[in-house]
Amino acid sequence: MTMTTDNDTGATPVTTTAQRTGTPRHHLILFTLLLALLVVLPWLVYPVFAMKVMCFALFACAFNLLLGFGGLLSFGHAAFFGSASYVAAHAAKVWGLTPELSILSGTAVAAALGLLIGALSIRRQGIYFAMVTLAFAQMVYFFALQAEFTGGEDGIQSVPRNALFGIFSLADNMALYWLVLVITFGGILFLYRVTHSPFGHVLKAIRQNEARAVSLGYNVNRYKLTVFVISATFAGLAGATKSQVFQLASLTDVHWSMSGEVVLMTLLGGMGTIFGPIVGAAIIVTMQNYLAGFGAWVTVIQGVIFVIGVLLFREGIVGILAKWFKKPL
């Protein structure tokens, strides 16, 4: 199964230098620019909107690690995003935990769930894998619908913003913004490191030719499971953080349309690229925010983007840019 984007083959010499010298300089520059943008962003747009973009960017990056680098299309990532969001909300509201502990407990649950679902799902490949993850996510959805603590149709509302480490108040949006910035930017950097580690290179090898990786002696299933768990964990981190931002965890977070949305973000931005999911998340979240008044037309527009993306530009926006600049972005 290969979801190879063209920049893989087109830019081989650049990747080899990258391996020799560590982080390529243009990645360093772009990350610095991104950080600078995020620092000034709350003065340009409404901070809650900016935080939403960041949470979804992290979610999409986590998903992209699995699809773009691991070659595994999960159609059930809402399960991790949503369950972490529920657990973090519950921890903050009912147990009265501090934000960092709430977010950590949500993330931990997503990781455990990722281990369980991943271990079962990687037994099937390709489109079956997609269907199996989707079905498990639906199981989580029904659990969220029926369980006591999730509040059913209402979700967990008015989650309190407790003080960070029990000291710093996060009641102010700007205070929370810095925490979200640290979490999401740190998460994205970590995922970037994973893809550029020896582990990431083995993943690439598995995606390009699984049989060859097996014959080279790699325990392919262990690699797949590991990348699945990492991806689920960071999807959970994004969901847990989101529940603190909106002070809400609801069925939307865990519904299968959320899984579809993260696929769309990644596809639109460019799967297998580093900055693509961030760009895709920013575009989709912005679109949903400003087109919210059009009701179901938003779904239609997303569907059209999906179809056009698959038919005409499978590399995604950043993938096309990478082709132009002849550098992996």
């Binding site: 199964m1 639906q138 997303q302 059209v304």
Partner: protein, 294 residues
């Protein structure tokens, strides 16, 4: 009269509902299997095509005064024609690529179709009355069997058997099966494989449309009716294994019945029992009950 402490009417009532649901699972997973067999694409639009079938029947009745019996034939044709158009214009461009792109494309199509219907008809659901000839029911002594439900089961069994017979026992079916193994070779024998692919997709979509027409008088007609059902059908497909037509049919009916029985014993579990079975099957036999070795 009780069986294991459960009133017999309740038991058979749920069994009947299970059998009805199973009929829809069977016809829908059969359509998926037919499309998957030749195109290697998981048709995510299947749920939307099922919904279209119900809506086309409803529109025909309310706008054109076309009754149920004509809709039963015409609606699947309309949905099938739509499917063939989508296949020619879009899916046909993707066959050389990874199969995942087909899944993503059909997912996008499903979003478009469901979004459009939601815009025009809302999500509240529209009623479709049971045709007069099939209203009423039979008193079987131990339970009451509505005629329409019996009819749905009969039609589903006939359609499933007919499709199985066509694919496994006829010459046309032999061509189809050969084309899934080696399209180039079959093409070299002078058979128009692309046209066969288009017709197969159309047939699969028409099956979903037919299920939609059958469903219209039972469930309310609404734009989301296919969206959640399709995921359940995916689970059915994983359990049955995509390799065989007969697997799709038997698992469809079987899981419907199991789901119905679960509703009697442990109602909270009925919405997840199929997924639990899927998890167990994946542990024990990852290729599915009737599937070929992956």
């Amino acid at each position: 009269m009780d069986i294991f402490g459960i009133p017999v009417q309740v038991l058979f009532g749920q069994l009947l509902i299970g059998l009805i649901n199973g009929s829809f699972y069977a016809v829908l997973s059969l359509g998926l299997a037919v499309i998957f067999g030749l195109l290697n694409i998981i048709n995510f639009t299947h749920g939307a095509q099922y919904m279209m079938g119900a809506f086309v029947a409803w529109m025909m009745l309310n706008y054109l005064g076309v009754n149920y019996w004509f809709a039963l034939v015409l609606a699947p044709l309309v949905v099938g024609a739509f499917g063939m158009l989508a296949e020619r214009l879009m899916l046909a461009r993707l066959y050389k690529l990874d199969h995942l792109y087909g899944l993503l494309l059909t997912f996008g199509l499903a979003l478009i179709i469901q979004g459009l219907f939601r815009n025009y008809y809302g999500i509240s659901g529209l009623p479709y009355t049971i045709p007069p000839a099939l209203s009423g029911g039979q008193n079987l002594g131990f339970m009451f069997l509505p005629n329409y439900r019996a009819w749905v089961i009969v039609v589903s069994v006939v359609v499933c058997f007919g499709t199985w017979f066509m694919i496994e026992k006829t010459k046309l079916g032999a061509y189809l099966r050969a084309a899934t193994e080696n399209p180039e070779l079959v093409g070299a024998f002078g058979i128009n494989v692309p046209r066969m692919v288009t017709l197969t997709y159309g047939f699969g979509a028409a099956l979903a449309g037919l299920a939609g027409v059958l469903a219209a008088p039972i469930y309310s007609v609404n734009p989301n009716m296919g969206a959640d059902l399709i995921i359940l059908v995916f689970a059915v497909v994983v359990i049955g294994g995509m390799g065989s037509i007969i697997g799709a049919i038997l698992t469809g009916f079987g899981l419907g019945i199991i789901e119905g029985l679960t509703r009697v014993v442990y109602p909270e579990g009925s919405s997840v029992v199929i997924f639990v079975i899927m998890a167990i099957v994946l542990l024990v036999k990852p290729e599915g009950l009737f599937g070929r070795q992956a």
